[in-house]
């Protein structure tokens, strides 16, 4: 187990370093990096001071070292648009993003896994068919379009739900369902497949022959083993969340980090964007690392391989 932990940790650190190299490389790819760290109102003194600070007269690897050290301390430079440290802008928006992500995660799990189980147990029923249609739909349309259609129906036409911002629990309903739909569809398909496999196995037949109640068979015998395969798609689910957060926050004007990222592109605000990309990626890689280790812990075959 220790070997796996060290291995995966090293891989995670390597990926984060690679991402910092990409971001650093891009900041130097467009000529003088001061053009993207300072706006046109910068005084000549500030211009020279930045050159000094970033070590622009020194070789690239020294510049990278300086830049990485600043980054590790959370100094990503000042936002060109808001004139405050980029990290502060990100920090202000993190709670909103985490709230929405958390609720959507709950939606995905509470919808995806139980529906997958029901769909497998009631195979061929009307429930099974509707659930699978629902999953197919979620995987064939872009996330932003689900959001727009929800706004069109429930806000613009029926006027039931608010279509933007975060001002109370009603504001969570549409964004969290739109964000959770795709992960729920993935979870549902995997759970259904795993559950079908297990319900067909010998030990379930034995339990049936012994006269164990069907509720107990499904939840105590079947479900406990069917829960491992969904973990394997956790990485895909996080990826869906990562993209989805940026998209859904834009659609629902949600004051979170994802929307800030899209706004920074419109504002050409490289410092803010670099902060978001590095922090978001690190978080994403950390989540994947945790899932990997959890999976190794749950499945002895991986641990002992």
């Amino acid at each position: 187990m220790w070997r796996i932990i060290v291995n995966r940790l090293a891989f995670g650190v390597a990926i984060v370093l690679l991402i910092t190299i990409v971001v650093f490389g891009l900041s130097r790819a467009a000529g003088d990096p001061r053009n993207i760290y300072l706006d046109e109102y910068a005084t000549p003194e500030a211009w020279d001071a930045w050159g000094e600070r970033m070590g622009l007269d020194k070789p690239l690897y020294v510049q990278y070292g300086v830049w990485l050290w600043d980054t590790l301390r959370g100094d990503f430079g000042e936002s060109l648009y808001y004139d405050v440290p980029s990290i502060r802008l990100v920090r202000e928006r993190v709670p909103n993003t985490l709230q929405l992500g958390g609720v959507a995660f709950g939606v995905a799990i509470l919808i995806g896994i139980p529906l997958g189980v029901i769909s497998a147990v009631q195979r061929g029923s009307i429930i099974d068919y509707s659930v699978r249609g629902f999953a197919l739909l979620g995987q064939s349309v872009p996330v932003f379009w689900i959001g727009i259609m929800m706004i069109l129906v429930f806000s613009a036409t029926l006027g039931w739900l608010p279509s933007s911002r975060n001002e109370g629990w009603q504001h969570f309903i549409m964004p969290s369902i739109a964000l959770g739909w795709l992960p729920a569809a993935g979870l549902m398909r995997i759970t259904r497949g795993a559950m079908l496999n297990i319900l067909d196995s010998e030990y379930i037949k034995l339990a049936r022959a012994k006269g164990v109640s069907s509720g107990k068979i499904i939840w105590a015998h079947g479900f406990r083993n069917a829960i491992i395969p969904p973990l394997t798609v956790a990485a895909l689910i996080f990826a869906a969340f990562l993209t989805g957060t940026v998209v859904i926050e834009t659609v629902f004007a949600w004051p979170g980090v994802g929307r800030l990222a899209v706004q920074s592109i419109k504002n050409n605000d490289f410092p803010v964007l670099s902060a978001i990309v590095i922090l978001f990626s690190s978080f994403y890689i950390l989540l994947n690392l945790i899932v990997d280790l959890l999976y190794a812990q749950l499945d002895p075959r991986i641990r002992l391989d």
Partner: protein, 308 residues
């Protein structure tokens, strides 16, 4: 090793439901999957639109006419055949823009699938056949590509270089070869050990000949299946990037950009955002059907349900 490959229906195969309506649905579904005429027609239509956008579209997709703004589709009150799918906030014809959007999606997905598919296949072939450090390096590169958050990297690249069609294609290729390489490598590993490859080696065939004459035909099926399944997700990704304003430049008639344009006018003109979404849905479904169909065709053992 068994030689006979008779089809044994696995108990996992879906059984036909008892309810007559569901039963008809199920059989219909299997028929559509086996003979996907409608989904294929959608794909052919898309390619025709992409090739002949100038001839097919009734109006200029870029030139608006403010006096003709917000005309609803023909089937709704106030709509005309002049603009079958209505017009947007600048009075541009939604149908013409959707036709040109098919062109953008086709260009991007063709370029990315060809480059990513060929590149990934060659890397997978060489890695699987040579093994050793070549394999190690290739598989590490696959791991890195998989672990990188694509959208975030795309955002920084675009903010530095600005939006362009070429840039998006390059980015999607860089993140679109790993799947091919992984599957091709796995299949090459097993084909390498097969008898006919050993005979070719004994005969003195060169390494390139073995790889491209003997092993490549064995992996082509999987490559085509991955490719067609991949197109669907590519089109989704491309439209998402365009929607966010980091894909193709903002004036381009792309499906994602059209959906984004209509967002401000939802209560007044539902069709501006809805139509391109329907186009994306149909095309993505079409490619998923194509992928499933190709998989069945190359490997009949995977057929899900037999209908007499």
């Amino acid at each position: 090793m068994s030689i006979e490959a008779t089809y044994v229906p696995s108990p996992l195969d879906d059984t036909l439901p008892k309810n007559p309506v569901l039963r008809a649905l199920r059989i219909g579904w299997v028929w559509v999957r086996r003979y996907p005429i409608v989904p294929f027609a959608v794909l052919i239509l898309m390619i025709i639109c992409a090739l002949f956008a100038e001839q097919l579209s009734p109006h200029d997709p870029l030139r608006g006419n403010l006096r003709a703004a917000f005309i609803p589709p023909v089937f709704q009150e106030g709509g005309t055949w002049e603009y079958p799918l209505g017009t947007d906030h600048q009075g541009r014809d939604v149908l013409s823009r959707a036709i040109y959007g098919a062109r953008i999606s086709t260009i991007i997905s063709t370029a990315v699938i060809l480059a990513g598919g060929i590149g990934g296949t060659v890397i997978g072939l060489v890695a699987g056949y040579r093994g050793g450090w070549v394999d190690q390096v290739a598989m590490r590169a696959v791991d890195f590509t998989l672990a990188m958050p694509f959208l975030l990297v795309a955002l920084v690249v675009v903010v530095v270089f600005g939006q362009s069609l070429e840039l998006i294609i390059v980015l999607l290729i860089l993140f679109g070869w790993d799947n091919f390489a992984r599957v091709v490598r796995a299949e090459t590993l097993s084909l390498r050990e097969s008898d006919y490859v050993s005979y070719a080696r004994i005969q003195g065939a060169s390494q390139a000949r073995i790889l491209f004459r003997h092993i490549l035909p064995g992996v082509v099926g999987s490559v085509l299946v991955i490719g067609s399944l991949r197109v669907g997700s590519l089109i989704l990704t491309e439209s998402t990037l365009s929607f966010l304003g980091v894909g193709v430049p903002p004036d381009t008639p792309a499906w994602g950009i059209m959906a984004s344009d209509g967002r401000q006018h939802l209560s007044r003109a539902w069709w501006i955002s809805t139509m391109p979404g329907i186009a994306i849905f149909l095309v993505v479904m079409g490619f998923n059907f194509l992928g499933d169909w190709l998989r069945d065709w190359f490997d009949p053992r995977l057929r899900q349900l037999r209908v007499q």
